[in-house]
């Protein structure tokens, strides 16, 4: 298999994640989009690690990305819960209080 195939999969992942972020009004839906995007980055890094001279470094970065994604999910969930506590909804469109 070639590098390009993996990059194509990653592109699909990325675009789906972005779409998720653009269309989902549920806060956790947006979060899932973020996860998809991070996953696509991960896939990219590992593919480059496999097919180029990036070597083991790519996997190390991917590992860091995974860890960061987990941390980000925890914090984002906490934020979402707080958001829910304060707004009684998880609709991100209602979180425009700062604008008013």
């Amino acid at each position: 298999m070639s590098l390009g195939a993996y990059l194509a999969v990653s592109a699909v992942l990325f675009a789906s994640g972005l779409t998720c972020m653009m269309t989902k009004r549920h806060a956790l839906g947006v979060l899932m989009g973020v996860e998809l995007i991070l996953n696509s980055a991960c896939l990219n890094l590992i593919a480059f690690a496999r097919y180029t001279s990036l070597g083991i470094d790519g996997q190390v970065f991917a590992l860091f990305v995974i860890v960061i994604a987990a941390a980000e999910a925890a914090v984002a969930l906490a934020i979402a819960l707080n958001y829910y506590n304060n707004f009684l909804t998880v609709d991100v469109d209602r979180g425009d209080e700062l604008k008013r």
């Binding site: 972005l18 972020m21 653009m22 009004r25 991100v92 469109d93 979180g95 425009d96 604008k99």
Partner: protein
């Protein structure tokens, strides 16, 4: 060294604590006293160590090792470097820290410990301890929130009140002691000068302690300014010495055995000697015109001036003839302070320094010093004998005794001078504390005419003061000895030493006979006024003033220092010039430089004496001094004790003289007329110039700049502000319009960002073919 730091620590602690403690608390006093007690014990300990290890010949390195815990770190030089030829004394010199270093010249902070230092430590800490303890009672009325000062001028309806300053007092007292110890410990003129000024400052604090009183304010200011006059000389002298000798250190660094550690820089006496020897050969063919600088070498006159400058500092500090007026005014301070100032610390500093730097003084300077001492001696004595104020008598007595000491230095007998300094410290502090006791118990009554007949009420005070008076006047029972000792108190021995020094000097230089006569006259007067004081106070059995009927002794804290000091005043000079104290003093002072040993000098023809000369005339001199003292005592006895002669008649007959003396020889008037008023006038004229010429100019400038700023204000407001306002409002409006784009919807932001990325990529691909890496 620890003993030196403790009072400072006490001072600091008190200063800190006074922020926290109530004004009613006696804790600061106890802290101060406690620290002094420890310091005193440490001093005693080190003195004991010093005495135990005293034979310098057998001193081994183990001795100095034993010494270290007591006197803190001797720098043991393992190799015996060159034995400094001129200083066989045991001395511990070292440096802690270099303040600054300019090329070759080093300004270190160091210490020079020898027998005199140790002795002075014991003395200072002991007297200071006595004063501290004494003050616990004397100043007890300061432990209040509202201290009523009856000496203040006030309208009858109100009593001026102020918060008590007990802690303040102890802090200043601790600082004072610390500074004096610093002088004693210092090695190097610069360090001495630092502590010198610290002494001046803390004395300013203490003299002006009752600073609500105008007199106290003026007195402290006067003391400070007078000291400044002397200090100018000090600084000048130091500068000259620094230029000529290249160092300000008194002694080279070496350990107890005189071993210098490595290549020690040349110390001051050595360098000075070298400088003098460089100059003196050019005096072989002495021409008066050669006195002034003729070549590029150092002028002899410059060296004399250096000595004179340093002496000016001593004169100012020790309240000698031209600058003596501050001391009498300094009585405005609390009495314990006076005791400390007059005995061990401030005025002693001058004499101490003079004795320390004596090898640096050329004969001209010494001679001048001798005459200054004589004049002061007589002046002080004459003022003391007519003074009505209890403390003033003692103050003038101090002036006169200090004159005696400087005379001793001036005639080359500086061992005697220091000896007298020490004995004087004891009995003068004793007298002051006794006077304080009287004043305290009689509720601040200081007038001798109102006091009197207190013996029955204050038995201990009267007894101790009698001892002090006898010691001061140098009285003794002639030709009677007990246990091989002549029957006399400490003053007898020390005064004898000075008188013999003066006599030996006069014998060699007969044209200076005036010195001897004055000394004897001074001794006579001393005995007279001191006995007068005692008789006035204690002679009669019943108080003159009925208000003093209920007077009785103060608490033990007040009387015990008196007793202790009386003991020392009586017996500290035991053994006379062969005694312990005198020996220690002799062991530590620098011996006379080479030119002292009899060689006739070219400029002022003086034959110098040495110890053996003085010893030869000792008996005669003692007899003469004793006779003079007895004469004075008898006169006083006749006048005030027996009232055989009415003192009033006598004073009426000697009216001009008495008036002159009681007006302190009009020195204050003279100073006022010749110095203060002209300066004030000058100031007035300067102020006039200021007002007429400079002020209008400045005003004009100000007015111009005001106009200018008005103009620029207009410019600012009309042009710049409007410009920025317009800009800000347009930015504001723009921001408001942009705000509509900020929907606060996170999804929209993502959408826009994605769009932007896509557009950017498209632009990149469309217009930047270089960005395409593909085929």
């Amino acid at each position: 060294m620890l003993a030196w730091l403790l009072p400072f620590a006490g001072c600091v602690v008190i200063t800190v604590l006074r922020l926290k403690l109530s004004r009613l608390s006696a804790v600061p006093g106890w802290i101060g006293t406690g620290s002094l007690l420890v310091a005193f014990c440490l001093s005693l300990f080190s003195a004991g160590l010093w005495l135990m290890t005293s034979p310098a010949e057998t001193a081994a390195s183990s001795v100095s090792a034993e010494e270290t815990p007591g006197i803190q770190a001797a720098k043991v030089g393992d190799d015996a470097a060159h034995e400094t030829g001129y200083s066989p004394q045991r001395r511990l010199v070292g440096h802690w820290y270099s303040l600054a270093k300019f090329g070759e010249i080093d300004f270190p902070l160091g210490y020079a410990i020898d027998a005199l230092t140790v002795l002075m430590f014991v003395l200072v800490t002991m007297i200071s301890l006595a004063v501290h303890a004494y003050s616990l009672v004397y100043m007890a009325d300061e432990q209040t929130e509202s201290y009523q000062d009856h000496h203040l001028d006030h309208s009858p309806g109100e009593t001026p009140e102020r918060p008590g300053r007990f802690a303040h007092f102890y802090a200043a007292l601790g600082l004072f002691t610390f500074a004096m110890l610093g002088i004693v410990l210092a090695n190097g003129l610069l360090q001495i000068f630092i502590f010198w000024e610290l002494v001046g400052f803390s004395s300013y604090l203490l003299i002006g302690f009752y600073h609500e009183r105008r007199t106290a304010r003026l007195a402290s200011m006067k003391a400070f300014l007078m000291n400044r006059v002397g200090d100018v000389g000090f600084v000048l002298g130091m500068t000259i010495l620094l230029v000529t000798c290249g160092t300000l250190l008194l002694y080279p660094v070496h350990d107890l055995n005189g071993n210098t550690s490595g290549s020690a820089p040349m110390a001051l006496p050595e360098a000075f000697q070298a400088a003098v020897e460089k100059v003196v050969p050019s005096e072989e063919n002495h021409q008066p015109t050669d006195l002034l600088p003729s070549g590029q070498g150092i002028s002899y006159a410059l060296l004399v001036a250096a000595g004179l400058g340093l002496l000016a500092g001593c004169v100012g500090k020790s309240a000698q003839f031209p600058l003596h007026t501050w001391l009498a005014d300094a009585m405005e301070g609390p009495t314990p302070v006076s005791a400390l100032v007059h005995s061990a610390t401030m005025v002693a500093a001058g004499v101490y320094l003079a004795a320390r730097i004596a090898p640096l003084l050329l004969p001209e300077a010494l001679l001048l010093l001798a005459y200054v001492g004589v004049v002061t001696l007589l002046l002080g004595a004459s003022m003391a004998i007519v003074a009505r104020d209890l403390k003033l008598v003692l103050a003038h007595s101090t002036i006169s005794q200090l004159g005696l000491m400087l005379l001793g230095i001036g005639v080359g007998a500086w061992e005697a001078a220091i000896f007298h300094l020490i004995t004087h410290a004891f009995f003068k502090s004793l007298l002051f504390l006794g006077a304080g006791s009287v004043i305290h118990t009689t509720h601040h009554e200081q007038d001798l005419e109102k006091l009197g007949g207190l013996r029955a009420h204050l038995p201990l005070t009267s007894l101790t003061m009698l001892i002090g008076v006898i010691a001061l006047s140098g009285l003794a029972v002639p030709y009677v000895t007990i246990f091989g000792e002549s029957l006399g108190f400490s003053g007898f021995h020390s005064k004898d030493a000075i008188v013999s020094g003066a006599m030996a000097f006069v014998l060699k230089n007969p044209h200076h006979i005036l010195l001897l006569i004055s000394v004897l006259l001074g001794a006579c007067l001393t005995a007279a006024y001191s006995l007068r004081l005692w008789l006035k106070l204690f002679a009669r059995d019943t108080p003159v003033d009925p208000a003093l009927q209920q007077v009785h002794e103060g608490p033990w804290l007040m009387t015990w220092p008196l007793v202790v000091l009386a003991f020392f005043a009586a017996f500290c000079a035991l053994g006379g010039e062969e005694g312990l104290v005198s020996t220690l003093v002799e062991a530590s002072l620098s011996p006379a430089p080479a030119w002292f040993s009899g060689s006739t000098d070219e400029v002022v023809s003086i034959q110098w004496t040495n110890a053996s000369d003085r010893h030869a005339v000792h008996g005669t001199a003692g007899a003469m001094a004793l006779a003079a003292a007895w004469l004075g005592a008898l006169i006083a006895w006749a006048l005030y004790g027996l009232r055989a002669i009415s003192s009033k008649d006598l004073s009426r007959q000697l009216t001009p003289l008495v008036r002159l003396a009681s007006h302190r020889w009009h020195f204050d008037t003279l100073y006022r007329g010749f110095l203060v008023l002209p300066i004030l006038n000058l100031a007035r004229h300067t102020a006039w110039i200021d007002r007429i010429l400079i002020d209008p100019f400045i005003d004009g400038c100000a007015r111009f700049s005001e106009r200018f700023s008005h103009a620029s204000q207009w410019f600012d407001e009309a042009m710049i502000n409007r410009f920025f306002d317009n800009m800000a409002s347009s930015v504001w409006a723009w921001g408001l319009s942009l705000r509509k784009a900020q929907t606060g919807h996170i999804r929209q932001y993502v959408l826009l960002a994605t769009m932007a990325v896509i557009v950017l990529f498209l632009i990149l691909f469309a217009w930047m073919p270089g960005g395409r890496a593909g085929p």
